[in-house]
Symmetry: C2
Subunit: 124 residues, 2 copies
Amino acid sequence: MPSKTKQRSSILAALKNIDQPVTPSELLNYASINSPGLGIATVYRYLKRLVASSQVRKIEAVGVPPHYEIIHKKDHRHFFVCYVCEKLSAIKRCYNDFKDLLIDGYKIKSCEVIIYGECRECST
Amino acid sequence: MPSKTKQRSSILAALKNIDQPVTPSELLNYASINSPGLGIATVYRYLKRLVASSQVRKIEAVGVPPHYEIIHKKDHRHFFVCYVCEKLSAIKRCYNDFKDLLIDGYKIKSCEVIIYGECRECST
DNA sequence: TTGGATGCAAACGCTTTGCATAATT
DNA sequence: AATTATGCAAAGCGTTTGCATCCAA
């Protein structure tokens, strides 16, 4: 079953199943269930393609490693980083556009909002 | 003049003079003018302290290396990344808070907005 | 048979750390 | 004298790349 050419579909399926930001190594672990022997290089190579083709979003936040997640529509999302448990999570989809932030002559392609604080579990 | 213990003041002065997001190596170059022989390790070590003490903000955006900048008040800023020239810049200070994004039980400490697109120079 | 996909290991670049030295108190 | 700061070089770590192999068309 783990034919050597079905690695990409395992990676993509993993991304869709998780539907939350994940790190490359987390993705490797998850996708390896269906694709034993999958290499980290393949994960990185495919993620790069997916980002380039706007199927996947790369999220870089302070204090946590880069995360990746499936893009559903032309949405953007807000992310939350807890500085106690150091976890990154998507907090909601948001269809607001940020035209009020527009500056003359600048063309907005996408927008990323990252909120840092303390999550519910760590607040109590 | 370049006594071995005035390195930190050179680094801090450079950050204040620039007053724009810079990479560690850019900061090294700039601070080295007043502190020849300054090492990159000292820059990283001091930046870490400054971030920990909330004097400096670290900005991580997709496609560009991490940048650092002086924090002026309890402001937050919006950043713009041009995907053509691949430069990151601060576009304005913003004193809005993001209470509308608040979720029950979450405590917001800070918020970062990064806009990706095409800058004025690259649009023309 | 030709081109793309993959795993492995080496290479890479940024960041951190160990250690000896030097400055500060 | 003890503590802290520094430069250098080595180590770390995540990511990329070269290359031989494997698979698909």
